[in-house]
Amino acid sequence: MEFEYSRANPRVTVAFASFEAMHTVLEGVVTDLDEPAARQLFASIETRVREIESRLNRHDPASLFARINASRGREAVPLDEGTYVLLQLAELFRRTTDGYFDLAALSDRSVGSVTGSGSVTETGDMAGSGGMAGFGGVTGVGGATGPEGVAGPGDKTGPGGATGDRRGAASGAAAGGKMADTPGCVLDPATRSVRLTGEGVRLDAGGFGKGYALERIRPLLTEAGVRRALFNFGDSSVMSVGTHPLGDCWPVGAAAGGEPFRLVGSSLSISGLHPDGRAHIVDPMSGRWVGRRTMVAVEGRSAFLCEVLSTALYAAPEERRATIAARFEGYRYTEIEM
């Protein structure tokens, strides 16, 4: 980890740290901490991010996601509490984005007809799962609400109102890949485990991992008493605490231009083509890379939710974005021409 600490401004101290993670770099600026506290904070942050990466990095054979993917749906894989909750939330977000956020979007496409294509519900109780908090209000479809008020079992339906049928979906998709409008996995609260719904299903954290990690950092900042901070994860996920010590916000400009975002304790996520022009987001409906040159930026409280929503809105057709975005109270999206 690279660490820098400055007392050059007598009115405010500033600490900077960066380290590589999740195939990019996480960097942060924190003010008004003494140097030992700042070092300790960034060490804790790195530890937490490494722990998350060790679970979500599907390219690491030892990771939890790699083990889930390797199971090919033939067996349930036990989960830790944090990942269990994460997958619950992912399914909730899949439904509230009409399927355009899907952590199984990179799965092989299903072949042949698949039955039971209604939205599959997880079979247990999502309430009280803890772990992630402070997303702001998510108005779910079919009665699902945000994590602070997640509805109980049987109360969550897909966007079309279809009630899920776990057995049907699992058996149908097991022959190959994944249908567009079904989840890639089902959760079992009794054993706190997950089972993929098809051999070709692959879970991937690319569409939310950085935002999720940033959100998991926020409690560490609170515990350390940080009142002003800015974190940047690979340029596409940004999280702020408070404001710039010399201003009324953290002004963050997009490299592509436009008015800067004025972050005040809020987060920002931008989805689009890679800077070198490569597509890296898959449309869960078609299974094809999205090559749209218009980026989508989402600003709101939760870095996790911002990334989920920007990923979904980038993949979604233009005419559906406003409807999807309206379900996420407190989050606003902007389209930016590259």
Partner: protein
């Protein structure tokens, strides 16, 4: 190459204690080197003050020890133009008359290739110090003759391989030879242009004189006019000579009566298996000119003066906030965008080899030339590098013409590397 070897290589034996990190080039270019020749004067005659010759004249104007006292060209417009740069210089239309001028200590020969050997031999015989433009000569045998004559003459003899004097090249080659970038695995040289390589001709009877580069009687084309800038890179980086060369050349686009190829591709292979390429096309300029040393751990862009790590250090989007907060600045940080990933190597901005470095070594070469004349010391390696640089250009051209894989004849080897 360690620093001591480097110092020897470029003729700075007495400067072993100089701060090479700040000025790692010739003794004659350093303040200490310049101090030893303060007050000295070298009187120059310029033979062939066309475009390249006038370029040297402008650089000589920045060298305190240099004075241009004579000019020679049998093409009056060039002589007129050069005369405006050095009004006090005597003018000749026959280089032998210039060589007879006792006021001339040293000559710069910037004439067409086929004249280099004869003029250099005559100049050395006349007791002049010589800086001859590259490529050294029209044939490999002529190169050897010139090399031997230069060694025997006791005069200072440079060939215009200015990259040997370019601080960026010197610094990065030092690192390459020390293995700081890992082993060298490939060397790439290319020079792409998109023009007919012709100069305007006021009268048809001057066509062959002015466009001498296009005619085989006077030039070996792209191999001697462009490759000669670049082929020393492999030898310099690897510390060894190529064992063979192969290639192909042809007339791809400019089929206008020229007698030298407008497209060439050559591969030189070194004893350790490393290949060095030189390619040139003059009907597409997209890639421009490039000289790259590919190492296991980094790519060195010699022409651009930058190197690119195989594992680039991630750049920072918000680090500047530290400095801004230190200075009490509140400003917009522009960095947000789509995911920046470490594997996007093509967007890696690289690292400057020598930030702020300017020039291409031509001025330093002239300073070193003057220093060598005034101190009476021919810098080691300078002539040898030029010799092999030219010989391998010419061997490459032979390979193109014969469509064969060629090795360097033993009789053309000199006691170097």
């Amino acid at each position: 190459m360690d620093r001591r070897e480097f110092l020897k290589r470029i003729g700075t034996l007495s400067a072993a204690g100089l701060a090479l990190s700040a000025a790692p080039w010739l003794e004659g270019c350093t303040p200490e080197g310049q101090a030893t020749i303060r007050g000295g004067k070298v009187r120059f005659g310029i033979i062939g003050p066309g475009s390249r010759g006038q370029y040297h004249m402008r650089n000589l104007a920045a060298v305190p020890q240099a004075e241009i006292v004579a000019l020679c060209d049998d093409y009056p417009p060039n002589l007129e133009a050069a005369g405006r740069l050095a009004p006090a210089a005597k003018r000749y239309d026959d280089y032998r008359q210039l060589l007879d001028d006792p006021q001339v200590d040293a000559v710069i020969i910037a004439t067409p290739l086929h004249l280099h050997c004869r003029m250099t031999l005559d100049a050395l015989a006349a007791g002049k110090h010589v800086l001859c433009e590259k490529a050294m000569a029209y044939t490999m045998e002529d190169c050897r003759t010139m090399y031997q004559a230069g060694r025997r003459s006791g005069r200072i003899f440079f060939v215009g391989q200015q990259r040997l004097f370019d601080p960026k090249y010197i610094k990065v080659m030092d690192s390459v030879r020390k293995g700081e970038f890992g082993p060298v695995v490939n060397v790439r040289n290319y020079w792409f242009r998109n023009n007919d390589w012709r100069r305007s001709v006021p009268s048809p009877d001057l066509e062959r004189r002015i466009n001498w580069r296009l005619y085989r009687a006077y030039s070996r084309g792209l191999m001697t006019e462009l490759a000669c800038h670049q082929l020393q890179n492999g030898t310099w980086a690897l510390g060894m000579l190529p064992v063979q060369v192969m290639g192909a050349g042809g007339y791809v686009y400019w089929k206008d009566g020229r007698e030298v190829f407008d497209s060439v591709s050559t591969i030189y292979t070194f004893p350790n298996g490393v290949n060095m390429t030189f390619e040139s096309v003059i009907s597409n300029k997209h890639f421009g000119m490039g000289e790259q040393i590919l190492c296991k751990e980094a790519t060195i862009d010699l022409a651009g003066g930058r190197y690119y790590s195989e594992t680039p250090r991630p750049r920072s989007g918000i680090r500047q906030l530290v400095g801004e907060i230190e200075q009490g600045i509140f400003s917009n940080s522009v960095f947000a965008g789509t995911s920046w990933a470490a594997e996007s190597g093509s967007s890696d901005p690289g690292v400057a080899v020598m930030p702020g470095a300017e020039g291409d070594g031509s001025l330093e070469m002239l300073e070193a030339f003057c220093h060598a004349i005034l101190t009476g010391k021919q810098p080691p390696h300078v002539l040898e590098e030029a010799y092999y640089g030219a010989v391998f250009c010419l061997l490459g051209d032979e390979a193109l013409l014969r469509n064969e894989i060629l090795t360097l004849p033993d009789e053309l080897r000199i006691d170097y590397l």
